[in-house]
């Protein structure tokens, strides 16, 4: 399964761009520069872990809550900030949803994008805690090596094109 190794769809680290797989590279070129709408399309089709609806349909992700800081230069680091709106303020699945979004984007976007995911202000009772966890590199990496968690995320992402 593609989930055995985290970040399988990214160009393989360890090789310079010139040496990376040509099919991966053309993917990168396709996404050389993305806009907020493209990011919305990538994540709005993710399924909610407990409803038979997508994050777009539930308005957990919204186009106006996607912010991009990108010079467009493929050699520069760019930043994507996504604010999610949990359906209820005590939503225990907020971190799982955020992780699903992060995994989706890390697999689809070139490595120059730094992805910052936050819950929208005042939409979650443990806002700071959720934000800290979602943006902790080690915790996210470790989560991506957790088979059970990856199974749930793969389910959430199965509705994506």
């Amino acid at each position: 399964s593609v989930f055995n190794v985290p970040f399988t769809e990214k160009s393989s680290p360890g090789s310079t761009p010139a040496l990376s797989d040509s099919s991966l590279q053309s993917d990168d070129e396709e996404f050389e520069s993305v806009d907020a709408l493209e990011i919305y399309d990538l994540i709005s089709s993710i399924s909610d872990p407990e409803h038979p609806l997508t994050l777009g349909q539930l308005a957990v992700v919204n186009l106006e809550d996607i912010q991009l800081d990108d010079s467009g230069n493929p050699n520069e680091i760019a930043e994507v900030i996504i604010k999610i709106t949990p359906t209820i303020t005590h939503c225990s699945l907020a971190t799982l949803i955020g992780l699903g979004i992060r995994v989706r984007l890390e697999r689809c976007l070139p490595p120059r994008y730094r992805i910052i995911i936050k819950v929208k202000e005042k939409t979650h009772q443990s806002e700071n805690q959720v934000n800290k966890q979602l943006n902790d590199k080690e915790r996210v990496s470790a989560a991506c090596e957790n088979d059970q968690l990856l199974k749930v995320i793969s389910q959430m992402l199965s509705s994506c094109k």
Binding site: N75, D136, A142
Partner: protein, 347 residues
């Protein structure tokens, strides 16, 4: 002043999380999400061995050479919550057959984030997402590791541990935004006392490093998710109280079982985003790396004033840099591109 690239060590197929340089031998160890540890000869730049016999099932997050012993050995910490100890039982460094797995240490409940040996090689400290730090006593042959103490002072993940280069003082950095210092108890060597809490960072503290000057603890640098590096200074240690103290009744003295530390300064802010690693060189310079891919080197002008002498963006292309180490006037960095780079400081 600038950095020139001396060599790039390739081979990891996933993020490189940490590196360690042997204190006496020209050995470099690097660990990665690809679950291998690569050992290089730093002089010839040749790969000596890849330690990957499936002893770990998850990311290797941390590595450190033991500073003592007749033959080289190292500890590797993994997200699979175990530590492995490897060693070379011959003096021939180039032969990969001589490297063997000597021990697997179990005890932590979750991912191990850091491992560090005390200066005398007697103790190995490990820290984990399970909020604890374990102190293991090692024998000379690296066959027996006995847990002598478990520190449970942090309220969240412990991200990094490091020992002072001469004293048995341990600094730990945490997701709870603090750095804590621990010292062996004077009366019970198996007891470790929390002698100071350094608070002020407004985000996860990712790493810390002691100043390399003198025999005693002087200052500590710490790097954080809040984008700052702080310099902390010890005012006086618990064990050298002013003489007036000895005249106080013991009930009052119990409170002074603490080292007094103060925030000396915050280094000039230049990083954007988390600073994953800070290193204090024997040359007195401090170097840092983080999510923004920048290598920054700071020079001290006077005790409160530091100047940025190098700020090099895109040091690993567009990738994040996880770790930085000094090796004389050279620097070694490890990135999400899986590469390990050796740099020379061109003064």
């Amino acid at each position: 002043m600038s950095l020139s690239l001396v060599h790039t060590f390739t081979g990891h197929t996933d993020k490189c999380w940490a590196t360690s340089i042997h204190s006496k031998l020209p050995l470099l160890a690097t660990v990665s999400g690809d679950r291998t540890c690569r050992v290089y000869n730093l002089e010839t730049k040749r790969l000596i061995v890849v330690l990957d016999d499936d002893s770990h099932s998850k990311t290797l997050s941390s590595v450190e050479w033991k500073p003592t012993g007749e033959f080289p050995s190292l500890a590797i910490g993994s997200f699979d919550s175990t530590i492995s100890i490897w060693g070379n039982e011959e003096a021939v460094l180039e032969d990969e057959d001589n490297w063997t797995l000597m021990a697997i240490i179990e005890g932590h409940e979750n991912e191990i984030k850091g491992v560090s040996w005390s200066h005398d090689g007697v103790y190995l400290a490990s820290c984990s997402r399970d909020k604890s730090i374990w102190i293991w006593e090692a024998d000379d042959n690296n066959e027996e590791f006995e847990c002598v103490f478990v520190v449970q002072e942090h309220s969240q993940d412990v991200k990094h541990v490091t020992w002072h280069q001469h004293e048995n003082v341990l600094a730990s950095s945490s997701y709870d935004d603090t750095v804590k210092l621990f010292k062996q108890d004077d009366y019970d060597e198996d007891d470790w006392v929390n002698v100071a809490d350094l608070t002020g960072h407004e985000g996860t503290v990712w790493s810390s490093d002691f100043e390399k000057k003198g025999e005693r603890v002087t200052r500590l640098s710490s790097s954080s998710d809040d984008g700052t590096i702080r310099i902390w200074k010890i005012l006086h240690a618990a064990d050298d109280q002013p003489s007036i103290d000895s005249k106080l009744p013991s009930t009052i003295k119990t409170d002074t079982n603490q080292d007094m530390w103060e925030l000396e300064t915050i280094l000039p802010i230049i990083h954007h985003g988390p600073i994953y690693s800070v290193a204090w060189g024997e040359n007195g310079y401090i170097a840092s790396v983080g999510s923004d891919g920048r290598i920054v080197v700071y020079k001290e002008l006077n005790s409160k004033e530091w100047q940025i002498i190098i700020s090099q963006p895109h040091s690993h292309g567009v990738y994040e840099i996880n770790n930085i180490k000094w090796h004389g006037d050279r620097l070694i960095t490890a990135g999400d591109d899986g590469l390990v780079k050796l740099w020379e400081l061109a003064l």
